[in-house]
């Protein structure tokens, strides 16, 4: 069984949020799953109860992408989009991203890096916000949600960050 704790999330530096996750598949497939609309809309859905009626991807430098999610029951919509800045299939994508109703100033810059080893792919996704204030606004807006972290999992989260990573 895949453990639910394999995703690592850290906040190195002042403006970044970084996610790391290993997938048991070659990176060509992971890349496809991030760039082909018919595949993207099957997994990039967020909390239960949301679907993705709009998923448009113009995969070239300067091309745009557009995602719209919709809540199945009350029809609430949430959209985001951006522009591709760098594409190096099947290993790297850099794009701007912004929610339609962004609650933080400026755009974020997303960098997806896929490294393959022994048939497994390590995904690293870095979101860089325009300022520390913007990143912290993203974080703070979600703080009242009342999902208390259990301190065991917390310790795990902290322990899982490498003690001597690159700066």
């Amino acid at each position: 069984m895949k453990t639910a704790d394999s995703l690592k999330l850290t906040t190195p530096g002042e403006r970044d949020l970084v996610m790391t996750r290993v997938f048991d598949a070659p990176r060509k497939l992971v890349f496809d799953a991030h760039t082909r609309p018919e595949l993207v809309r099957r997994w990039l859905l967020g909390p239960p109860g949301w679907s993705m009626p709009v998923c448009e991807i113009d995969l070239r430098v300067g091309g745009t992408f557009r995602y719209v999610w919709q809540h199945d029951r009350d029809g609430t919509k949430m959209g985001m989009g951006g522009v591709y800045r760098e594409i190096k299939a099947p290993e790297r994508i850099v794009n701007t991203e912004k929610f339609d109703e962004a609650w933080y100033p400026g755009e974020a810059l997303g960098t997806l890096v896929l490294m393959e080893q022994g048939g497994k792919t390590t995904l690293t996704y870095t979101m860089r916000y325009e300022s520390r204030a913007a990143r912290d606004a993203v974080i703070k807006s979600n703080m009242e949600s009342g999902v208390a972290a259990s301190y065991e999992r917390l310790a795990e989260l902290l322990a899982s960050t490498p003690a001597r990573g690159p700066a």
Binding site: T11, R21, D24, L29, A33, R42, L45, I139, A149, G165
Partner: protein, 117 residues
């Protein structure tokens, strides 16, 4: 209020790998500066410097014992900061578990040519 300011100092404190390792160590119980310095290839003054940053952010406090001056984790303050990270992590883990299933499916299918869209 100063909530934003506080959050700034907490995340700045968490941005350093040594400080995260110190917090992870303190999560399993209080410890003196000497004990904290042991697993790191670092001098006690260097560790003390990191502890000062953690104390200023309210993430670490000093225990009662005047001799050992053990440091302890202020779990509530840390919890405030990591609550969001935990929620966000779960959201993405949900996405990535769906992606796992999709990739398993793609692996069993013959590859479709990547040139068409």
């Amino acid at each position: 209020m100063q909530a934003t300011h506080r959050l700034d100092s907490v995340f700045a404190a968490l941005a350093d790998p040594t400080r995260r390792a110190i917090l992870a160590r303190l999560a399993s119980g209080e410890a003196s500066v000497t004990e904290l310095a042991e697993p790191f290839a670092m001098s006690q003054p260097a560790i003390s410097k990191h502890l000062k940053v953690l104390e200023r952010a309210g993430l670490v406090s000093r225990g009662r014992d005047a001799q050992r001056r053990p440091r302890r984790l202020e779990a509530k303050r840390l919890g405030e900061a990591t609550k969001w990270l935990e929620r966000y992590r779960r959201l993405w883990e949900g996405n990535y578990q769906r992606l796992d299933a999709l990739l398993d499916e793609l692996k069993t299918k013959p590859q479709t040519p990547g040139d068409d869209r």
